[in-house]
């Protein structure tokens, strides 16, 4: 469903991504791995049209999207959970969910189903976005993206900065999404947890994809984890 072909992107004059190719199939959970500063976030931002691709192609459901404005990309069916969550601080939890929502009878996600997924959000629906804890913010960011009923969910640093218990909650939620056959492209640092739920992995090193393979292959190649991911 998502094809990234030889993507190259820059910030100002410095090139961040040199040659990134990846693909994700319907129902897959795909990860982008790599140390900090290797271009994971930039890759996701390029897919979303927030950091325009300088060279290369990106297509989503066979439609080229690398020249579209980000709102059109989102409307084609990509839900984005950014690094740092970026909740709208001046909107209530409920408003954060419904302001950008695209819900309809035939789609799975609506206010009701989101509150079932994250009961915490239901309790806090009238609180402002800036009154939430980190974990609640992450739930809200995921809920907000799901409310657009996306074909593909993009998660940047899904559990960064969260306490272990909250992390588990997020992983459980992702497991639930997996059982609903939600396609996900995810960036996170917890390789162990990712190995449990994801099918396929890409490793980025200095703006290039240096390795890709499924969970089984990655499990076998501990030296890869050692080389590219260990801190």
């Amino acid at each position: 469903m998502l094809q990234v072909n030889r993507l190259c992107a820059r910030y100002g004059l410095s090139e961040i991504l040199h040659d990134v190719s990846l693909s994700a199939k319907q129902g897959d959970i795909v990860t982008l791995l790599g140390r900090n500063g290797m271009g994971k976030t930039t890759t996701l931002r390029s897919i979303m049209g927030l950091t325009p691709a300088y060279q290369g192609q990106i297509s989503f459901q066979s439609e080229p999207i690398h020249q579209l404005p980000s709102w059109k990309i989102a409307q084609l069916g990509i839900g984005y959970v950014p690094e740092g969550r970026q909740i709208f601080p001046n909107l209530t939890v409920r408003e954060n969910l419904i302001a950008t929502a695209r819900v309809s009878k035939s789609k799975h996600w609506n206010e009701q189903t989101i509150y079932e997924l994250f009961p915490r959000l239901a309790e806090r629906q009238y609180n402002m976005g800036n009154q939430l804890s980190g974990g609640e913010q992450q739930m809200l960011a995921i809920g907000r993206a799901l409310m657009t009923n996306p074909e593909l969910l993009i998660l940047d640093e899904a559990t960064e900065g969260l306490a272990p218990l909250l992390r588990q909650e997020i992983w459980q939620c992702l497991q639930q999404l997996k059982s609903l056959e939600q396609s996900i492209l995810i960036v996170d640092k917890n390789v162990k947890d990712l190995l449990k739920i994801a099918n396929y992995h890409y490793i980025l090193e200095k703006g290039n994809v240096v390795w890709h393979g499924d969970s089984e292959q990655l499990n076998k190649n501990t030296d890869i984890i050692e080389n590219y991911l260990a801190v």
Binding site: W71, P82, A99
Partner: protein, 303 residues
């Protein structure tokens, strides 16, 4: 006492007019970060269109409607051709480009309508007086403006805090990129907000038509007052604008009505008139200075 209540109502009416102008200005600044000097030009265009259509058809309400439609169209055109290229620029360039627009609009009006001021009659249906507290007659038209202003304030609140458009507006003002990444066409939203501000401004101009003369440059003097209003109210705040607009309207009106008389009580008549008149003409600026000394960010800083 009757005079005092009358003057108070005049102040309210001026305040409401200022609020209509300031709300658009403060929305556009609060959300898009644009300082738009030519906002007053739409006030002027609103008044001219109202005057022309009213004097041709004899129907003031038709005139107002025509002005609103014109302002909406103009607003969309200006936003799409010029303003959206200015959002990311320094305020200085925004000031300059919109200053250029003022020159353009003023001269365009001079070319189309000539230099002579136009006048509009108060609509027949509102051309009567109302007894205030059982004494003295007060023009119904001015009361209608005050009521309309309060209705618009309430409508703005509902729109901003309870409608989906309002949510998107607030979302876009706090994090434009994120709103876009969630599928919101921010450009179209901005065009809409700008045009909406233009319509409010033209409404203020059209309503002011029967009270003041419709003339070139009428937009700027009132625009500067609107600036004072949004500085006092806190830039970006609708609530702050409303409070500040009423404050300014009342202080200005009462100052002009009473300060000269007050100074005449202990000065010679001519000196008192001069000192009182001078002080009245700068009273609102002094008020602004005092408020800024106490609260540099204005009365309220939330949308």
């Amino acid at each position: 006492m009757i005079l005092f209540i009358e003057q108070l109502f005049n102040g309210l009416q001026l305040g409401v007019t200022l609020f209509l102008l300031a709300s658009g200005l403060t929305l556009v600044f609060g959300i898009m970060g644009l300082i738009n000097l030519s906002h007053g030009s739409l006030y002027m265009v609103g008044a001219y269109v109202t005057a022309t259509v009213t004097n041709h058809t004899g129907n003031f309400f038709l005139g107002i409607c025509a002005a609103l439609v014109c302002a909406a169209i103009l607003g969309v055109i200006i936003e799409m051709t010029i303003m959206r290229r200015l959002y990311h620029r320094d305020h200085l360039y925004q000031v300059l480009a919109t200053f250029g627009l003022i020159l353009f609009f003023n001269e365009s009006v001079r070319i189309i309508w000539g230099s002579q001021p136009l006048f509009i009659d108060i609509p027949q249906s509102l051309n009567f007086t109302v007894n205030l507290f059982g004494q003295g007659g007060y023009p119904a038209y001015r009361i209608a403006i005050i009521v309309l202003g309060i209705v618009i304030l309430l409508a703005l609140f509902v729109l901003i805090f309870y409608s989906k458009i309002g949510m998107l507006t607030r979302a876009g003002s706090s994090n434009r990129e994120m709103a876009q990444a969630l599928g919101i066409n921010i450009n179209r939203l901005y065009t809409g907000i700008f045009a909406f501000g233009a319509v409010l401004s033209a409404l203020a101009g059209g309503l002011a038509g029967p009270i003041y003369a419709v003339e070139i440059g009428m937009g700027e003097s009132v625009l500067i007052l609107a600036f004072v209003v949004i500085v006092i109210g806190g830039i970006g705040s609708i609530k702050g604008s409303f409070i500040a607009a009423l404050l300014i309207g009342i202080v200005d009106t009462l100052g002009r009505a009473y300060l000269p008389a007050f100074f005449k009580t202990f000065m010679s008549a001519s000196d008192g008139a001069v000192v009182g008149g001078s002080l009245a003409s700068i009273a609102i600026y002094l008020l602004m200075a005092v408020i800024l000394v106490v609260k540099p960010q204005g009365l309220s800083s939330k949308l």
